[in-house]
């Protein structure tokens, strides 16, 4: 049934022949409980009247709200294959080059790392979160530039970017994904040029609590003092 709905959802998009998503920019402000508010800006070219389907990469999304669009534009969302697709229906008379902005609530963006089989639960440090965003371009329209930004929840920091796909092509320079300050807030971005149908843009980030444990400080000071006492003969010989 869901597959049929998805098919119906995508059907109008297929009717729009020369539609092109010039750019898709997604930004999500996350909370530690795994919820977040995302904003999206889509630059569409060649759509005129008709529909275009935009993949979002979020498995669960709700509370959609248009923020920028020609009057009469409507949104419809449908989960499909692990991500939410948004169908944007443009009214008659919409210009060929249109910019659409919308917001949505997302949930369940974080996963707690799970131990491998046989690995004790206690071997995993507490407080670690895994954020993974994977946007599969299901549509025939190539996404000219896809940029994804994630603002970290308060009290966390990124330990490492564990995955960033697709791999850089030969002519591309610079990182695919990078930690950065976004509007004065720590975050991570992913950027892909020319995301064709069937290609997936992925970024996976490991988050840890912002404050570091004091264990290293205690160990370091204790070892230093011990060394200075036990090895003082090194300088005693110097006279």
């Amino acid at each position: 049934m869901r597959a049929l709905a998805a098919l119906l959802l995508m059907l109008p998009a297929a009717q729009v022949g020369a539609v092109e998503i010039r750019s898709l920019a997604l930004r999500v402000q996350t909370n530690e409980n795994g919820s977040g508010r995302a904003t999206a800006v889509v630059q569409i070219e060649g759509a005129e009247a008709g529909s275009v389907v935009v993949p979002t990469g979020f498995p669960a999304a709700s509370n959609f709200r248009l923020t920028q669009a020609p009057a009469g534009t409507t949104l419809a969302a449908q989960p499909h294959n692990g991500q939410t697709l948004v169908r944007i229906a443009l009214p008659e008379g919409a210009s060929a080059r249109t910019s659409i902005g919308f917001e949505l609530d997302v949930t369940g963006v974080f996963q707690r790392p799970t131990p491998k089989s046989g690995e004790p639960e206690a071997s995993r440090p507490n407080g670690r979160l895994i954020f993974r965003h994977a946007l599969l371009n299901t549509e025939p329209a190539t996404i000219g530039t896809y940029r994804f930004e994630m603002l970290l929840p308060d009290g966390t920091r990124a330990h490492a970017i564990r995955e960033a796909l697709p791999k850089l092509r030969q002519a591309e320079a610079g990182p695919r994904a990078q930690l950065d300050g976004i509007d004065g807030q720590p975050g991570v971005w992913l950027q892909v040029d020319r995301l064709v149908q069937g290609e997936t843009a992925v970024v996976q980030v490991e988050l840890v609590p912002r404050s570091r444990s004091l264990a290293w400080l205690l160990i370091g000071v204790a070892l230093s003092l011990l060394y200075l006492v036990k090895f003082r003969d090194l300088i005693a010989r110097a006279g």
């Binding site: 440090p125 920091r157 990124a158 330990h159 490492a160 970017i161 002519a171 320079a173 610079g174 990182p175 990078q178 930690l179 950065d180 300050g181 720590p186 840890v208 570091r212 290293w216 400080l217 370091g220 000071v221 070892l223 230093s224 060394y227 200075l228 090895f231 003082r232 090194l234 300088i235 010989r237 110097a238 006279g239």
Partner: protein, 535 residues
């Protein structure tokens, strides 16, 4: 600098006694008896009071450096892993320089720290021992042992000393010219280093510099060869694969095709002038060679060397075998660009050396038993740890972050071209201290420099090509490149001495590049007027 350290005085006294007690022939024999030379795993004893204090404070100093970096508030864009990686690397660097314990123990400690601070995974750390550089290091010892055991290294060294060794300066010059000749022929820097290493060791011994008691000549010889292997690679665009990557980036991103001779006209004069300046400055100022050490340290002088050389007679069967094996390896190193066409596969430098090792160790046909090779595993462990640390800086993005911060912290808008040029080239030149990979440095920096040039209104070629000339100048630390690791393993110089020599080399290179930008490069049409301001 000019004052010999107590170790030198002690050694000089010991050598004088040796010379007095040994007959001249025995003395030379002792120096040339490379078979008795092993690379000791014993830590070097602290010599002067200041060195003892350095060792004493080095341990807590390293920990302090770690804690400072680890607990500092993270800068935007710096991941937790990158920050912890920088902290671990700083700890190891302080310990490598101050040597509270042997360098290989520091390497082991660093590998452990990388794991427990979750900078790298266990597999990534362990895999370093299987890296190309480690294999090349190991095979270098086997090939080196072959040259030593068959006495071919002794013959070549005696010849070299007879020909050029009337003074230390000439002997050093001979090695510089040798490296200059090899650089355009063999692109693999480690291969060049490996093939000349046995000669360096014997000539160092003839001038009284051994692993146990290195002297100023030994330091000059090893570090000048390091410079020769690394810096002279920048004479041609085929000098290293990173050079070719830079040329590709300049073409694809900067829109300029760089021809072979374009590179040579810019790179060769800078590299050659720097090499000759360092040849002079090294022996006169940095590690001043006392007058007594400027001649072969042999009772009987060069006449004795001549006598020993004549005594060797014609090439022995073992020497001929060694020559043939080495010739084969050399041939494979020099013809790597044809391998695909000839064999359907590229035989890389380590695998060419591996083939040589197979023949060397082959029963009956070979020239060496496994035990005779005396692989110094402690040095391989040191290299593995150093590379694990360096790779962690690359993989976590710490090196890239530091470079971006360096450029980002300076407002270059509206500055004259010469000032921008100086900053860009300086960052490129000294950034090798942050990373162990020339390729990574090239991939990170050259696109940034091309973009920066465009943003500031300059032709990308004017900044990117001179910056690319600095790619091979990786002479600052024992972990800055493969030849660095191999030469540091000779124990002829310390980390601090390597750093000092490297920084002086890079600074001279920087000054020459800046002067060239105002003159030579400008006349060739590469750079605009030095004081020009972009529109």
């Amino acid at each position: 600098m000019s004052e010999p350290r107590p170790v030198h005085r002690e050694r000089d006294e010991r050598m004088t006694q040796d010379a007095a007690t040994l007959a001249p022939n025995d003395r030379l024999q002792a120096l040339l008896d490379m078979e008795k030379m092993t690379l000791s795993s014993q830590g070097r004893a602290a010599q002067s009071p200041s060195e003892r204090w350095m060792r004493y404070l080095g341990f807590p100093g390293g920990i302090t450096a770690f804690l400072l970096l680890y607990y500092l508030p993270a800068g935007a864009g710096l991941s937790g892993a990158a920050q912890a990686g920088m902290a671990c690397f700083a700890l190891a660097l302080v310990w490598w320089v101050t040597e509270p314990f042997p360098t290989y123990v520091t390497s082991l400690a660093l590998m452990f720290m990388l794991l427990v601070t979750r900078v790298s995974g266990a597999k990534a750390i362990m895999d370093v021992l299987g890296m190309e550089v480690i294999w090349l290091n190991l095979l270098a010892f086997i090939l080196g042992a072959m040259l030593v055991k068959t006495r071919l290294a002794r013959r070549l060294s005696l010849w070299l000393v007879l020909r050029f060794g009337h003074s230390a300066g000439l002997a050093l010059l001979a090695f510089l010219l040798l490296q200059m000749a090899l650089a355009p022929l063999i692109p693999a820097t480690a291969a060049r280093c490996v093939m000349t290493l046995p000669l360096m060791l014997v000539v160092a011994a003839i001038y009284g510099s051994t692993e146990d008691a290195p002297n100023a000549f030994g330091k000059n010889l090893m570090l000048l060869n390091l410079l020769g292997v690394s810096v002279l690679s920048s004479m041609t665009m085929t000098g290293s694969s990173a050079n070719l990557i830079a040329v590709g980036l300049i073409q694809s991103m900067g829109g300029h095709r760089v021809y072979y001779m374009d590179w040579v006209r810019l790179g060769a004069p800078v590299a050659i002038v720097t090499a000759f300046l360092m040849w002079f400055l090294g022996q006169r100022f940095l590690f001043r060679i006392p007058e007594a050490e400027r001649v072969p340290r042999l009772a009987g002088g060069l006449a004795m060397v001549r006598e020993k050389y004549d005594e060797m007679g014609p090439l022995s069967r073992a020497e001929k075998k060694a020559l043939a094996i080495f010739g084969l390896v050399l041939f494979l190193w020099m013809t790597d660009i044809f391998h695909l066409r000839w064999f359907g596969v590229e035989i890389t430098a380590p695998f060419a050396a591996l083939l040589g090792a197979v023949i060397v160790l082959f029963p009956r046909w070979g020239v060496l038993q496994w035990a005779e090779a005396e692989i110094p595993w402690h040095l391989l462990i040191f290299s593995a740890g150093a590379y694990a640390g360096g790779l962690a800086l690359d993989d976590t993005g710490a090196a890239e972050w530091a470079v971006r911060k360096l450029f980002g912290s300076v407002a270059l808008d509206g500055l004259p071209f010469g000032v921008v040029f100086t900053i860009v080239v300086a960052v490129m030149m000294y950034s090798h201290l942050l990373t162990t990979s020339k390729t990574v440095r090239t991939i990170i920096l050259i696109p940034i420099i091309i973009t920066l040039a465009r943003t500031l209104g300059w032709d990308p070629l004017s900044l990117a090509l001179p910056a690319a000339l600095c790619i091979d100048w990786v002479v600052g630390l024992p972990i800055s490149g493969k030849p660095n690791v191999i030469l540091y393993a000779t124990n002829q110089y310390s980390v601090g001495e390597n750093f000092r020599y490297g920084i002086v080399t890079c600074t001279i290179g920087l000054v020459i590049l800046v002067v060239s930008a105002a003159t030579w490069f400008h006349w060739l049409g590469i750079t605009p007027s030095f004081w020009a301001v972009a529109r």
